[in-house]
């Protein structure tokens, strides 16, 4: 259990400078989660792909559904469901193979490597959550802007949202599930050899 979690029960109802302590604990937790997500993207953009895999739990589902153009009455279903086709539906094993494929040095779609930058923003969790016990999970929403430039002039911009399930692990987290939703129905990038 983290220090925050141990202390938060004792501090229920107390304030500092007029601010409720459980509210402060919530903000500290968000800051800790943001730091985790930003570090993860630093590692990825630095192309430390094997280290990046360590951010994920072994029971991972890494899922990137597709979007469709549907009538207004159906627009709540315009993200493909869990049994439907998708852009990506990986477990940890297959995500690891994607990394190993890049590391062969003959994965032609990423040889030479693309230049990729991730901007992660709009990080949010449920307001009532102040701490996570070991193994406890929280849903984290975030927005992303991914820029990929490759070889001479190939450039892709993808904007979208992620929903992560983060699991407390010691003084850090593991990502147990990542859902990636982009704002395109016809994918305008020629491939998805980069990660989110």
């Amino acid at each position: 259990m983290s220090d925050i979690a141990k202390n938060s029960a004792d501090l229920q109802g107390k304030t500092i400078g007029g601010l409720p302590i459980d509210r402060l604990a919530h903000l500290i937790l968000i800051r800790e989660i943001e730091d985790f997500l930003y570090t993860e993207m630093d590692v990825l953009d630095n192309r430390e792909f094997e280290r990046w895999l360590e951010f994920f739990s072994d029971d991972l589902r890494y899922w990137m559904p597709m979007r469709k153009n549907l009538a207004f009455r159906d627009h709540h279903h315009d993200i493909t469901g869990p049994d439907d086709a998708a852009w990506i539906d990986d477990d940890k094993n297959i995500l690891t193979k994607r990394v190993k494929q890049i590391l062969t040095g003959i994965h032609w779609a990423e040889e030479p490597l693309s230049r990729v930058s991730h901007i992660i923003t709009n990080v949010r969790i449920d307001r009532s959550i102040t701490a996570l016990a070991e193994g406890e999970e929280v849903e984290v929403k975030s927005g992303f802007l991914v820029h990929r430039n490759r070889l001479e002039t190939e450039t892709d911009f993808l904007a979208g949202r992620r929903i992560d399930i983060l699991r407390r692990s010691g003084d850090s987290f593991l990502i147990a599930k990542r859902t990636i939703v982009i704002d395109q129905s016809v994918l305008l990038a020629k491939n998805l050899t980069f990660f989110f």
């Binding site: 049994d83 494929q101 016809v186 020629k190 491939n191």
Partner: protein
């Protein structure tokens, strides 16, 4: 482009780069190939009920595939007869009519004109004939649930397919040899900077591009032991089949005495396959031992019949841009675990994120790009592999066969037919 240049020399296996990069030839293709050929539209399982529809494409143009009140599948141009607006802009759905959002004309599920705005006041007196102003309809044919259409009123699908019908029959029947298949939900759609023919040709049976997939073969994504990208537990002889109609395929002939251990990474899937395969042999006899691995029905419908089981249509967008539409297939009545296992295998194999397909696209895109130049386009591509090795087999009626399976009969078949469609046959 010099019109006297021989664009396709089928006998010598020489194809001009102009056919991949010339804007002038691309404009001709829109009419002479995509305006006449039979094109894959979709699968019947996408529109099970009367009123269901999906959007598809014929060449660059948007078409609607519906199931009309009669239960018949209809394919029509998605453009209002009044002022051209798309009457449908939903990828899929269920409706009674298609309403044009511009001036309000509406159309029935069979494409017939239902309503004209201000008909009573502005059209009735002059004797406006509704029957002349329905959506433009294509001629439709269905094989094992796969729906095809052509703008050619004289188009005959049987003669168009020729012997290649056998490939579709074997690929899109259930594993048990008689059941139905269905599309796994939604269609992947993405755009790549490649000429469409390079895509179609690759799937027609290019067996020499093993080096492209070396990296996925090393990491292993196969549904058996995760070595390679497909099951390799059975022995089969693979041949190239080329048809005078322009279609081509790589076809496996299995050894009947060899045990099949497909999909053994999943016990449920492996058992389901074993049961189905035993039944397939009873239903189809020797045909059960024939397995189309990959192929292309001219011009742009490509399929894998087995692992993965999928259709890819290379829709032209412009001379150097292609919109890829990929669908995946499972047996309709398979257990849910089987469907899920296959779905995950398909998605790691194919599509823009597929560990196999990613490397294909890199080649197609940069081959297109590197063929555009003033110097580059003067020098033709070479499709000579295996010339002289052609024969025939009674297992594939109507096909020319390259028994070593490593030739380029696929390209010679496809481009030979392409030249005929383009009116370039006298140069062949």
């Amino acid at each position: 482009m010099n019109a006297r240049v021989k664009l396709v020399d089928r006998q010598a296996g020489i194809v001009s780069r102009e056919i991949y990069v010339s804007e002038e030839l691309y404009q001709k293709e829109r009419e002479r190939v995509f305006g006449k050929a039979w094109l894959y539209i979709g699968h019947e399982s996408q529109i099970p009920d009367s009123g269901d529809f999906i959007l598809s494409r014929m060449g660059e143009e948007s078409v609607i595939m519906t199931r009309a009140r009669t239960g018949e599948v209809q394919v029509m141009l998605n453009s209002c007869r009044h002022r051209g607006m798309r009457v449908c802009r939903y990828d899929e759905g269920h409706t009674e009519k298609f309403y044009c959002p511009y001036h309000g004309w509406s159309y029935n599920l069979d494409g017939s004109l239902a309503h004209v705005t201000e008909y009573e006041r502005e059209y009735k007196e002059q004797g406006f004939d509704h029957s002349q102003w329905g959506l433009i309809k294509a001629k439709v044919a269905v094989v094992r649930g796969t729906v095809w259409a052509t703008w050619d009123p004289d188009g005959d699908f049987d003669s168009y397919l020729g012997g290649a019908r056998q490939l579709l029959e074997l690929s899109f029947v259930g594993w048990d040899g008689e059941g139905a298949v269905e599309v796994v939900g939604s269609t992947q759609k993405w755009q790549i900077p490649s000429n469409w023919k390079i895509v179609a040709e690759n799937f027609a049976g290019d067996m020499l591009h093993v080096v492209s997939h070396r990296s996925v073969d090393i990491v292993g994504i196969g549904p058996n032991t995760e070595s390679g990208r497909r099951d390799a537990s059975h022995t089969a002889q693979y041949v190239q089949a080329g048809y005078a109609e322009g279609h081509a395929s790589v076809v496996g002939f299995y050894n009947d005495t060899d045990p099949r251990r497909d999909y053994s990474a999943s016990k449920i899937t492996a058992e389901y396959f074993q049961d189905c395969y035993a039944k397939r042999k009873r239903v189809l006899g020797d045909q059960a031992l024939i397995s189309p691995a990959v192929g292309t029905i001219f011009p742009n419908m490509s399929f894998h019949g087995n692992q993965p089981r999928t259709i890819l249509v290379a829709h032209p967008v412009s001379v150097d841009k292609t919109e890829m539409w990929r669908q995946y297939f499972v047996d309709r009545d398979a257990p849910r675990e089987v469907k899920d296992f296959l779905r995950k295998y398909y998605l790691r194999y194919s599509g823009p994120a597929g560990l196999t397909e990613q490397d294909d696209m890199e080649n197609w895109n940069y081959a297109t790009n590197a063929s555009k130049g003033f110097m580059a386009r003067q020098f033709p591509y070479n499709y000579a592999a295996g010339i002289g090795n052609e024969t025939t087999t009674n297992r594939l009626p109507g096909a020319t066969v390259e028994v070593n399976g490593q030739g380029e009969l696929h390209g010679r078949s496809m481009y030979g037919k392409w030249a005929e469609f383009m009116g370039e046959a006298d140069h062949v």
